[in-house]
């Protein structure tokens, strides 16, 4: 019985190790390819370890495309969207869960209904509107809709605010607190796990977004990381080692952040995924 359990565990570990390798291998192969000379790239059979290590692919990619600028763009756009979403969505969630006002049910159903609308439906009208108000090729076109509209966040946070017992608010009211004080000092601290989850979700969505920047932005200096990488790919399709260096630049920082915060990220996704 004991040995059967052990061999079963061993088999599990073998399967999972092979699976993990298959998940990780594409990244590893990218980094290895990025350190090869173009002549080593096309060797048959493939050369696993670069010889010599061609570090110059990195300065070359950074020179060919404004990657640093793209990181700064992606970073500040994402931070504003996440911060504004957390504030505006939790405010709405608090109102829908705890404040009685005429029409609140109908308005909440509107929020739920819009979760069913695919982005592609509103993509064309939004583009035309952005054009009309002069936001094309500016970061406003990415920031403002991202910051002010997230029905999923409103819905999820409302679920959490609903779970806060009335007594806590009543105690705050006894102490003379108004709505803003209750929201800020009672509600927000209590829904912190949900805020973290929504924050991560929003961060990943905004950072990795491709279709919106593709439609709205034209100037390479304004590009976000995914858009810049796509442009880079268009220009260097033949030079695989340079392309892999550019791809590594786009992907490694994200993976490093992920490794540091993976526990929170995965728990956050679990929390939002299940409730959504």
């Amino acid at each position: 019985m004991e040995t059967r359990q052990n061999s079963r565990d061993f088999l599990r570990h073998v399967l999972l190790a092979v699976g993990s390798l298959m998940m990780f291998f594409p990244f590893l192969w990218t980094v290895l390819s990025s350190l090869k000379d173009i002549s080593q790239i096309f060797v048959v059979p493939p050369q696993w370890i670069p010889d010599p290590f061609v570090w110059s692919n990195y300065p070359a990619s950074l020179e060919a495309m404004p990657f640093v600028q793209a990181y700064m763009n992606s970073f500040y756009i994402t931070v504003i969207i996440v911060t504004a979403t957390l504030i505006s969505a939790s405010m709405a969630a608090y109102a829908f869960a705890k404040i009685r006002f005429p029409g609140s049910n109908v308005l909440f159903i509107l929020f739920l209904a819009t979760m069913m609308v695919p982005k592609q439906v509103t993509m064309i009208p939004l583009y035309l509107v952005m054009d009309r108000i002069g936001w094309l090729d500016t970061h406003w076109s990415l920031i403002v809709p991202g910051a002010l509209f997230n029905a999923f966040a409103v819905f999820l946070l409302r679920q959490f605010v609903m779970g806060i017992p009335r007594d806590l608010e009543e105690a705050a009211v006894m102490d003379g607190a108004g709505y803003i004080r209750i929201y800020w000092s009672v509600i927000l601290p209590l829904i912190r796990p949900a805020l973290a989850a929504i924050g991560i979700f929003t961060f990943l969505g905004a950072w990795n977004s491709f279709l919106d920047p593709l439609i709205y932005l034209n100037t390479p200096e304004k590009f976000t990381v995914p858009l810049l990488l796509n442009n880079f790919k268009g220009l260097y399709t033949a030079d695989w080692s340079l392309m892999m260096a550019g791809t590594t630049i786009s992907v490694v920082p994200v993976l490093l952040v992920y490794m540091i915060a993976q526990k929170q990220i995965i728990e956050g996704i679990t929390l939002t995924g299940i409730k959504g």
Binding site: F24, P26, T30, T114, P118, P145, Y179, N208
Partner: protein
Amino acid sequence: MQKKHQALWGYLFISPQFLGLLCFSLLPLLYAFYLSFVNWDGFGVPLFVGLDNFRGQLSDPDFWKALFNTMYYMVLVIPAGIVLALLVAIVLNKVKGKEIYRLFFFMPVVTSSVSVGVIWMWILNGEFGILNHLLRAIGITGPMWLTDTQWVIPSIALLSIWLGLGYNMVIFLAGLQGISKSYYEAAEIDGASKLQQLRYITLPLLSPTTFFVTIMMVISSFQVFDQAFVMTNGGPAKASYTLVYHIYDQAFIDFTMGESAAAAMILFAIILVFTLLQFKMQKRWVHYGD
């Protein structure tokens, strides 16, 4: 708290998100609805054409091509994606050190679709890609993945399964952890084999999670675009041209806004029908515990 001020505060608190909802979802949705009935290049005067755009879509071979490709992609991605994620979750659930494995499986989820698209272009390269080298080592001649009309959708599907595996696995893992151990203990006493336990305990109790994962996968599969755009530009010979690609092309390449809006409306309707159908069919296979 004064009652009369209550409503005012309520409106105040929802106003930023409500303004967003109005400006970035409701009004654009109405606008899209209107656009689907006009002929417009985005510059001149829109001309009302009734249902012509919808008729135009239904008689456009590109639309059918895109619909077919999207459906083909779904058929490959959804069953394989669910079964694999479920298997990994079940194997992972009882293992020591699961955090390490979880770390690897989830890795692709955090990376952008463009980055993984470029990575897989290199791996799937017919001549120099590592996948065909590995296949050759075991005596198989791999196809020209991304440049062969037969293989391009399976290639994109392969990438998508790899990409989404970790996400779905984590959702399944959460579902598995919600199943009480006492069920398995009782089954053990009754002499049920591991396979029977899987069949009669795990799968039924996990069905709400499976339902959730299926719904999310159907919705996201209908919207497949990034990978096809980055890796193949919809080619070769439109073999990886998807519905969203079609919408994008018509609006931003051909500037036929009305036709594009009509295609988007049809996509919306299809997603709606599929989602409602899934909710209807869930009675047959989804078991919610007490």
